[in-house]
Amino acid sequence: MTVNTLNAKNLAAPAANVSAYLKSRARWSPFEIAFWVFAFATIWLFPGKHLILKDTAILALFALSLDLILGYAGIISLGQAAFFGLAGYFAGLVAKYGIVNEPVVALVLSGVVAAALGFATSFLVLRGSDLTRLMVTLGVSLMLGEVANRYSNITGGADGLQGVDIEPLFGRFRFDLYGHNGYVYCLSVLFVCFVIVRRIVYSPFGLSLRAVKGNPLRAAAIGIPVKWRLVAIYTVSAGIAGIAGALLTQTTAFCSLDVFSLERSADLLLVLIIGGTGYLYGGLIGAVIYKFLQDWIANLTPQYWQFWIGLVLVVLVLIGRDRMRNWIGTVRGAVAGVGVRLLPRSITLGGAAPDGP
């Protein structure tokens, strides 16, 4: 049957079908709702763990920023710390000198500053292979780290930025030593950023990114301006990384040179290798596992905890995510019999294995 013979009536049913299918991709699944309900429930469930939970939320947001470019656009980076660090110092400085006192406004501004840096450096990562991108992104963050070290009269250098006084949130909630308000703040920011990123990913723009990642040659051949799409997503990703960095400064009232460190960027890749890329929850789940694993092992063997983290990493990569996903699939199949959807579709369909080194 050709198009010409199809009348409007015949077309209506499949069109509704197609529309419903496309929309269903973006629907919040029960797993996602449960995830966030539990995340917010931890505020009351684990009041003694708020400090580590707060760090976890910041790491998760940071990892989300990397997942956005790695999992959706195929850009691998070892330099997300550049944006994290720049915004971290920016948030610290505006608070220290009383330029912007309201934390939320300062947070948004920090994100904008980091995004501006992202935009400016995005042109460097457009070309080249994964290795080139790793080196260029790493180089940018190393340079920024040294700039911060050099201008120690502004940044405090190796001693870190001292005397940062963060005003209470909305003029009411002061960041306390136990991280109670800090955790609620970080988790809320994480959630808001997540919702925005989720919108982006399921939009036509997000779909075009997956096409660019899958086949840049064809993407250009169907009229997608590949370059500008990559610039755009890299800029957004930098902004989110910046917000994560600003959160750290605001909730600790301190910022030191290690915000730019290679380890910070490398940890991020670890988090995504643990959690997986390309389905949005990889960074979040990975951050939770990474932080609590680190905490637990450090309690067992304070000196040699990195040995065990390394072992877990090797095992994880050797077993492979596909195999684990199959196990999950088996469990899910069993559970589905009871009529419960344990995991979202995207984990089995869209969750590409990480392209990590």
Binding site: V3, P14, S19, P204, G214
Partner: protein
């Protein structure tokens, strides 16, 4: 005015000349075939037409406009789309998502980062049309990587078609398609709308002579003969150089 024209087009890779002095004229609405032995420079030529390669010398005109320096994705907007000899598909996406992507890009919604895909009826209606036309309805929810080769070949053409080109370049569309799935592919190509000009690059002489109303023969990087199918088939030089070996086989 020809819809697509090249003027003394030339491409050299170091010391090797892939195309030399190519003056190709494609008339509006034509079913134009470009044939030639292996290594004649057909794919290089199509890569220059679509902007993947930059010509060493010469101009490319699309509807009278010089597009020699226009980047590939802009040429799509100006009305020229292509398929690839080796499938270039989005393996992680379904045919439905792939086609939906092309539709939304063409309508200029590709930079829309807030609306959920599939909420516009103009987009979904067109997706259904294309899916039906290219016989992909039964596999539209499958991941592209899992489709049979013949279906992937259809999707390859569907993506280019969905760009609504005025000139469609088909680079060996039947290559590698198994006999059982061939008929479906050829019927779909036959059914392309008449207003779309088609430039077909093909090795398969049955397909070329059943489809084309004009044939250009490319040999050693240059246009050798150019004319109606009967003339080309009769031309002794073509027989000697190229057709002879193919047709007698």
């Amino acid at each position: 005015m020809p819809i697509l024209e090249t003027i003394r087009l030339e491409k050299r890779f170091g010391g090797i000349t892939a195309n030399h002095d190519v003056n190709l004229v494609v008339e509006k609405g034509a079913r134009h075939a470009l044939i030639g032995p292996n290594g004649a420079g057909k794919t290089t030529l199509i890569n220059m037409l679509t902007g993947v390669l930059k010509p060493t010398a010469g101009r490319i005109m699309l509807e009278g406009r010089d597009i020699t320096d226009v980047v590939p994705h802009e040429r799509v907007r100006l009305g020229m789309a292509r398929t690839f000899q080796i499938n270039q598909l989005f393996l992680d996406l379904t045919p439905l998502e792939s086609i939906g992507l092309v539709v939304s890009e063409r309508l200029g919604l590709g930079a829309d980062w807030w609306r959920v895909v599939g909420t516009r009826s103009s987009v979904t209606d067109e997706i259904v049309e294309v899916v039906e036309r290219f016989r992909l309805t039964d596999v539209m929810h499958e991941r592209t990587a899992r489709l049979p080769y013949g279906k992937q070949r259809l999707l390859e053409i569907a993506l280019a078609f969905t760009c609504r080109p005025r000139v469609l370049l088909l680079d060996e569309p039947a290559a590698g398609v198994p006999e059982a799935e061939r008929h479906e592919l050829l019927a779909t190509i036959e059914a392309l709308p008449a207003e779309v000009t088609v430039l077909l690059i093909e090795h398969d002489m049955d397909l070329v002579f059943s489809f084309a109303d004009r044939i250009s023969v490319l040999v050693n990087g240059s246009l050798f003969v150019d004319g109606a199918p009967e003339e080309v088939a009769r031309d002794p030089r073509v027989k000697a150089v190229y057709l002879g070996e193919e047709l007698d086989a």
